[in-house]
Assembly symmetry: none
Homo-oligomer: 416 residues x 2
């Protein structure tokens, strides 16, 4: 069952409102076993709405229309639909009573423009609006199921869940959708694609499971989804496909679905009963902030310092002035001394040191903007690496902080 | 000039990504005097992309396509466009060099799927990607101007502004739109609405300039826009309306358009030749991270500490153990001692101390989750205030960090 989601409204067309109704409806329809295939938006214009409605009922099995049900003159949608499909508007008594009651409770007089909302196309099934005034409408037009919803998200959500979905849930003919997202870090998108490609058939599926990539800087999401007769079958197929991908990509996958990298690191620290402290220069506190975004971080995160100046690196972390002179503030040696310093002073098990050049100023041919040294010092040893992240300042910070988190993760996995 | 904005991508169709590119492009095109009339989204499917492209060039004068330019197998957009319009793909040498250079700087080998991104339809004008790998493309197809952009917002924005808009700016005739956004902090939306309402006529306009509110947590944006025959007239009207709003709201407005609160604070510090250091508990480094998001922050930001544990507050900041015992870690006294401590140890002019309860655990009837004390100590005196921000953990951190920045801003304005 193919779904089209059609929004009407100048505020969406003009970009003043982001069309989050479309993504919300698409997610709900997929969960119910339908297949979203088209989203469209048109302005509050009779001709354009009519044309979009005709195209939608022609190419989709289910057409969900949002917006244009309100009391104002530019709320045209149902009026246009009535004309387009030859279903004259009729007053719907129950909706009229609801709207009158709503205004009575507010102590306001109802205007004729408010009553207009209760006029619905002949033969439709009204969809009650439990949190606002304008009712929706549903009917079958040719082979297409057609439904009209308010554009106000809260009203749309309630109407969709309580009154619309029960009407069409049976149409999805038993197909259920299962999905899983694998979050990857530490390899470029192209590399991941090359690793996984041998697993895919010519339809780009893995044993009937579809795959998609999505960059969510600084990580890459690998999305798996599959439809089957029932949920258990769909889920089993997705789980089996995920297993094959784990076998290829291994530790490059740091988590599934809603989890964030900093949560994974927190969990690993808690499981091992280890503590952490951070010493940051170029990431400017972002690493500490990500770590403390996780509820309960105080159980493993002891402290952090942001030592932008050399003086602070010496005083706060005990970095040797000679090291700064000999190697410069952005060097493997200073990163290691920062990590050792914060570890020793805080008493944490893991100490992280980060120093680099966020730019856009401060680069040199030898140490260009984007250069960063990350060090981790822990009971099992010391690790240090130089990276080059040639991005703008904010993305540089994100990538450097994520690289430090990812290294902590891999070290903790390796030490068991 | 009618505009269609077409997005390709399963992640948008499936609702996993909200199509904010469409609203961004619509706003920019309106500013440039064009008229957005259609938004469409189709999945990563050759037939559906081809059909959508043909319809778009048929009904619009300018067609902006986003997504599907990357290196993976589901990045199909330009390939399909090349077939649909009979323009075979050709290697674009400069883009190939750019991509190779990008991977060389990363120290990685380039795969053939990466090079695929540099194959562009014959006769097109390539649109350089200054912040990523995949170039865009622009050409005239029949009567329509057709442009292809990456789906990654940051890459889209740069490419649109620097390379696309100059190519088509001359095409828009007639009305020009001017707009201005005033960023407000420190008052609720309802208060702002009440302050401004007396300025508005019955159409809710101020001398022909339209007004709108938008909450962009943790700040509120007040948007002004106006259309006129030419840009100068439109801009003059918007500027005059903004003046009237400044007269009402005053210091509650911290900046205009693209500026961020942390940039305003940085500018004020630089102008006064002052330096800053931060001591954070519940914000966990977010304040330092925001400050260091601004390029050149090293000229005024000396250092920060994130003292989650009491031990760290004592050792790093010299907070008296007796103060912690008598008042608790979340108290005015501790916030002040943190601010004094970081100021004294770093030698900065302004020291900030923040301590609070981010939750969801750790609250008490006396100090509920969301309680935060913020202190600023500077040459002119000491300031401290208790706030209650009863939001989830991440929004609590954002609001507390913004409140500290806003206080720094107001103090610096008051001391001149």
């Amino acid at each position: 069952m193919i779904v089209e989601i059609l929004a009407t409204g100048n505020e969406v067309i003009d970009g003043d409102v982001v069309n989050s109704n479309a993504s919300w409806l698409a997610q709900r329809m997929r969960e119910a076993g339908f297949e979203p295939r088209f989203h469209s938006v048109v302005p509050d214009d009779e001709g354009l709405i009519a044309e979009a409605l005709r195209r939608a009922v022609d190419r989709a099995d289910l057409v969900l229309v949002t917006g244009g049900l309100g009391p104002t003159v530019d709320d045209l949608t149902l009026e246009v639909a009535a004309k387009t499909f030859g279903r004259p508007l009729e007053a719907h008594e129950e909706s009229l009573r609801r709207i009158r009651g709503f205004f009575e409770r507010l102590g306001r007089k109802i205007g004729s423009n408010q009553e207009k909302q209760a006029w619905l196309p002949k033969g439709c099934t009204p969809l009650p609006n439990d949190v606002g005034t304008a009712p929706g409408a549903y009917w079958v037009e040719g082979r297409a199921h057609l439904a009209f919803f308010p554009g106000v998200p809260k009203e749309l959500h309630e109407m969709f869940r309580r009154h619309f979905l029960p009407l069409v849930a049976g149409l999805s003919a038993g197909t259920a959708l299962a999905r899983k997202t694998l979050h990857c870090f530490g390899m470029p998108e192209g590399q991941l694609d090359q690793d996984i490609r041998p697993l895919l058939d010519e339809r780009r599926e893995l044993d009937g499971v579809k795959l998609g990539f999505r960059v969510r800087f600084p990580t890459i999401d690998l999305r798996l989804w599959c439809s089957a007769e029932d949920r258990a079958t769909a889920e089993a197929r997705v789980a089996a496909a995920a297993q094959k991908i784990y076998a290829k990509v291994g530790e490059g996958i740091f988590g599934e679905d809603e989890v964030r990298l900093e949560e994974v690191v927190g969990r690993l620290l808690l499981e091992r009963g280890k503590t952490l402290a951070t010493a940051e220069s170029c990431t400017g506190g972002l690493l500490a902030s990500l770590i403390t975004d996780v509820s309960g971080a105080s159980r493993y995160f002891l402290e952090g310092v942001v030592t932008y100046s050399n003086a602070a690196k010496v005083r706060q972390l005990g970095v040797a002035p000679a090291t700064l002179t000999a190697h410069g503030a952005v060097s493997a040696e200073v990163a290691l001394e920062m990590a050792r310093g914060i570890r020793a002073r805080s008493g944490a098990d893991f100490g992280v040191g980060i120093t680099g050049i966020a730019g856009p100023e401060g680069g040199s041919p030898e140490k260009p903007v984007g250069t960063v040294h990350i060090a981790v010092v822990h009971p099992g040893g010391e690790w240090e690496q130089r990276f080059l992240f040639p991005f703008d300042r904010l993305r540089f910070k994100q990538l450097a902080a994520a690289a430090a988190l990812d290294r902590l993760r891999r070290l903790m996995i390796s030490i068991g």
